[in-house]
C-alpha cells in the first residue's frame, strides 16, 4: 500500500498525426516532469495505434495529446477507441492544441477527460492529472 502511494504518476505525452508543432508538448512534458511525474514523450508523428500501444506497454496513468493541425476530432477519439478495445480505458486521456470551443463537448463525449486550449497554464494540467489519477487509484 505504501509502495502504491509512492509510485510516481506516469504520463505519456503524445503527438498524434502528422502535425509537427511540438512547443506545447515539450513545455507540458517538462512541466509534468518538474512536478515530479514520470514523463514519456513519444516524439512526433504517432498513429493512434502507436500511442495506445506505447501507453499500455509503458503502463501509464494518463495520456496527454497535443494536436495543432485540426485533425483532433479524428485522432483523439480514435485513441480512446483503441484503449477500450484493449481494456485499458482506465488510462486518463486529455488533450490540447488549437481546438475550437464547439469541438470540446464532442471530445468529452468521446471520452477525452479534459481539453486545454492556448493560454492554459501548465499548473491547470498538472492539477487535473493529480486529481483524476488519484481518484482512479482509490
Amino acid at each position: 500500500m505504501g509502495a502504491e502511494a509512492e509510485r510516481k504518476i506516469r504520463i505519456l505525452i503524445a503527438k498524434p498525426g502528422l502535425d509537427g508543432h511540438d512547443r506545447g508538448a515539450k513545455v507540458i512534458a517538462r512541466a509534468f516532469r518538474d512536478a515530479g511525474m514520470e514523463v514519456i514523450y513519444t516524439g512526433l508523428r504517432q498513429t493512434p495505434e502507436m500511442i495506445a500501444n506505447a501507453a499500455i506497454q509503458e503502463d501509464v496513468d494518463a495520456i496527454g495529446m497535443s494536436c495543432l493541425s485540426g485533425a483532433h476530432m479524428y485522432l483523439f477519439p480514435r485513441v480512446i477507441e483503441l484503449l477500450r478495445e484493449r481494456g485499458a480505458d482506465d488510462i486518463v486521456v486529455f488533450g490540447g492544441g488549437t481546438i475550437p470551443d464547439e469541438d470540446i463537448p464532442k471530445l468529452k463525449a468521446a471520452g477525452i477527460a479534459a481539453v486545454f486550449t492556448p493560454g492554459a497554464r501548465t499548473t491547470e494540467a498538472i492539477e487535473f492529472v493529480r486529481r483524476n489519477v488519484k481518484s482512479k487509484a482509490v
Binding site: G17, L18, Y74, P100, T122
Partner: protein, 564 residues
C-alpha cells in the same frame, strides 16, 4: 575628439540626473518591477542615451538605405517608392475551394498569393495514405498531383501574380507542379515569379516537417537552387525562415542567429555544387516573425540586414550588391495570439505588423484574430488585411525611410542583436557547423529552454498576457469559426483515385524509374540533377506520394533525437 568630450559631458549629466532627479522619484514611487525585460527575456534599461552608443559609427553601422550595410532598408526610398507586398497566406479543403479564396483575396486588393498546404501534402503523402486520415484539407489545401495544381490556379494568370508556396520537404515537387501549370498557361519560365519555402534545416530545428535524413534533404534543396539559377531567374528558391524557429519558442536573437546560420549552409552547399555565389545569392530570401515587442523586433530586422550584408560580402566574397541584400517576408506571431478574448488579437496583430513595417519588410502576412482556434474565416482574414492597409495608408509611418534610426534604444538593441548573433555563429562553428549542430540538437535545446522559461514567466505573472493571466473574463461570447467540410477528404480521395485510373501508367512508371536512378547517383554538374526528372514525373501526373516515395525508398527517413 570633440565627440569624446561630448560623451563625457553626457555621462556626467546622466550621473547628476540620477542623483538629483531620479533617486528622489524612485524613493517616492518605485518602479513597477525590479527588472524589465523584453518578450525574449532580455534585460531592458530604464533609459538610453548617446552614452550607450560609445564607439558607434553612423556610417559604418547604419549608413544610407539601398547601400551597404543596408541597416536602413534594401531600397533607397523604401515605402515611399513601393509599399510592401500584402500577401495573405491561404489554403484549406480542396484546390477548388482555395482557388475561390485566392480570387476573393485578389479582389480585396491583395497583391500576391501565398499557399498553405495540408499536412499530408507537407509530408509528401497522398490523400488516401493511411497517415493522411483525418488531416486532408485541414490546415491547408490538399494537393496530390498536377491536376490539383491546375485547379488551384484556375483562372489566375501566373505571369501577373507572384506566388509563395509554404512547403519544404516536397518543395521541389510542388514547384515542378507550378512550373507545369505555367507551361500550360503559356507563361514563359522567366516570367514566373514567386517563392518556395524550401528551408529544410529549420524543419529539423523547429517546424519538424522533415522526411529524409539531413544530407540528401540538403542536396534536394541545392538542386532547386541550381535549377532556379539556370531557368527561373525571378524565383526565390529558398525562403530562409526564422518564423518557425520563433514560433517554436525561441528568443528574437535565436531566431535571427539560427536563421542566418542556416542561410550560410545553403550558400556553402551551392558553392560546393559549382555555382558562383553571385549566380544564386540574389535569389535567396528570408522569412521572419514579428512578435509583440515592437522595438526588439525592429532591431532584429535591422540587424538581420546588416549581418547578412557583412556575411555575404566579407565571408563569401560576393561582388554583386544584390547578393548582399536580405530581402524578407514577415508574418505576425501566431504564437502570441490567444484563444481567450479573441478580438484582442486584432490589436496584437496591428502592433506586430507595425514592427514588420518599421523593420523594413518586403512583404507581410497578418494573422487573423481567430487563428488560435482555427483557420481564418473570410471576415477575420479581411480585417487582418485591412490592418496592413491602415498601417500603409493612414499611420504615416511609410512617409520616411527607417524612422526609428538614431533612437538610442533601437540602435543599441540593433548592435546587441548583431553581436549576439556573431556569438552564436562562433558557438555553431565550434560544434562543427550548423548541420552538425542540428544533428546534436543544439538549436533545438536552446529553443526548448527559451520556450519553457517564457511559459514559466507567464505562470509567475512576470509576463502579463491580457485576457489570459490578467483582465480575464468568465463568459466569452463565441466567435464564428471556419470549419472544414468533412466531406472534403472523401472528395479529394475520389478525385485522386480517378486520376490514378485515367493516366498513362507506363509513362508514370518510366518517369519514376528515371527519378530513382538520378536519386541514387550524384553528379552536381547536371547529369543527375533531380529537378528535370521531377518535372517529367509531374507532367505525367505521377502523384506527390509516388514521387516522394521514390526518395523515401532511396534515402530512408529521418528520426529526430528526443529533446524535451
Amino acid at each position: 575628439m570633440s565627440e569624446k568630450k561630448d560623451l563625457k559631458r553626457i555621462e556626467q549629466e546622466k550621473e547628476r540626473w540620477e542623483a538629483d532627479t531620479l533617486k528622489p522619484t524612485l524613493k517616492n514611487t518605485p518602479e513597477r518591477a525590479e527588472r524589465f525585460t523584453s518578450v525574449s527575456m532580455t534585460p531592458v534599461e530604464r533609459l538610453y542615451s548617446p552614452a550607450d552608443l560609445a564607439g558607434w559609427d553612423f556610417i559604418r553601422e547604419v549608413g544610407f538605405p539601398g547601400e551597404y550595410p543596408y541597416t536602413r532598408g534594401i531600397h533607397p526610398t523604401m515605402y515611399r517608392g513601393k509599399l510592401w507586398t500584402m500577401r495573405m497566406f491561404a489554403g484549406f479543403g480542396t484546390a477548388a475551394e482555395t482557388n475561390r479564396r485566392f480570387k476573393y483575396l485578389l479582389e480585396q486588393g491583395q497583391m500576391g498569393l501565398s499557399t498553405a498546404f495540408d499536412l499530408p501534402t507537407l509530408m509528401g503523402y497522398d490523400s488516401d495514405h493511411p497517415f493522411s486520415a483525418g488531416e486532408v484539407g485541414k490546415c491547408g489545401v490538399a494537393i496530390d498531383s498536377l491536376a490539383d495544381m491546375e485547379a488551384l490556379f484556375d483562372g489566375i494568370p501566373l505571369g501577373e501574380v507572384t506566388t509563395s508556396m509554404t512547403i519544404t520537404s516536397p518543395a521541389s515537387v510542388l514547384w515542378a507542379m507550378y512550373i507545369a501549370v505555367c507551361e500550360k498557361q503559356g507563361v514563359p519560365y522567366h516570367n514566373a515569379g514567386g517563392t518556395i519555402q524550401n528551408d529544410i534545416l529549420k524543419e529539423y530545428i523547429a517546424q519538424k516537417e522533415y522526411i529524409y535524413p539531413i544530407e540528401p534533404s540538403v542536396r534536394l534543396v541545392t538542386d532547386t537552387v541550381l535549377f532556379g539559377a539556370y531557368h527561373l531567374p525571378r524565383w526565390n528558391t529558398i525562403s530562409i525562415s526564422g518564423y518557425h524557429i520563433r514560433e517554436a519558442g525561441s528568443t528574437a536573437l535565436q531566431e535571427l542567429a539560427f536563421t542566418l546560420a542556416d542561410g550560410m549552409v545553403y550558400v556553402e552547399e551551392a558553392i560546393k555544387a559549382g555555382l558562383e555565389v553571385d549566380a544564386f545569392a540574389p535569389r535567396l530570401s528570408f522569412f521572419f516573425d514579428c512578435h509583440n515587442d515592437l522595438f526588439e523586433e525592429v532591431a532584429k530586422f535591422r540587424a538581420a540586414r546588416r549581418l547578412w550584408a557583412r556575411v555575404m560580402r566579407e565571408r563569401f566574397r560576393a561582388r554583386d550588391p544584390r547578393s548582399w541584400l536580405l530581402r524578407t517576408h514577415a508574418q505576425t506571431a501566431g504564437v502570441a495570439l490567444t484563444a481567450q478574448q479573441p478580438y484582442n488579437n486584432i490589436a496584437r496583430v496591428a502592433i506586430q505588423a507595425l514592427a514588420g513595417v518599421l523593420g523594413g519588410t518586403q512583404s507581410l502576412h497578418t494573422n487573423a484574430m481567430d487563428e488560435a482556434m482555427a483557420l481564418p474565416t473570410e471576415e477575420a482574414a479581411t480585417i487582418a488585411l485591412r490592418t496592413q492597409q491602415i498601417i500603409a495608408y493612414e499611420s504615416g509611418v511609410t512617409n520616411t525611410v527607417d524612422p526609428l534610426a538614431g533612437s538610442y534604444y533601437v540602435e543599441k538593441l540593433t548592435s546587441q542583436m548583431e553581436a549576439g548573433a556573431w556569438e552564436y555563429f562562433r558557438k555553431i562553428e565550434d560544434l562543427g557547423g550548423m548541420i552538425r549542430a542540428v544533428e546534436r540538437g543544439f538549436p533545438q535545446r536552446e529553443i526548448a529552454d527559451a520556450a519553457y522559461s517564457y511559459q514559466q514567466a507567464i505562470e509567475r505573472e512576470e509576463k502579463i498576457i491580457v485576457g489570459v493571466n490578467r483582465f480575464t473574463a468568465d463568459e466569452e461570447p463565441p466567435i464564428p469559426l471556419l470549419s472544414i467540410d468533412r466531406e472534403a477528404e472523401a472528395r479529394q480521395i475520389d478525385r485522386l483515385q480517378q486520376l490514378r485510373r485515367s493516366r498513362d501508367k507506363d509513362v508514370v512508371m518510366r518517369s519514376l524509374d528515371a527519378l530513382r536512378q538520378a536519386a541514387v547517383g550524384r553528379d552536381p554538374w547536371g547529369k543527375d540533377l533531380l529537378m528535370p526528372k521531377i518535372l517529367d514525373a509531374v507532367r505525367a501526373y505521377a502523384t506527390l506520394g509516388e514521387i516522394m516515395g521514390v526518395f523515401r525508398e532511396v534515402w530512408g527517413e529521418y528520426t529526430e533525437p528526443h529533446i524535451i
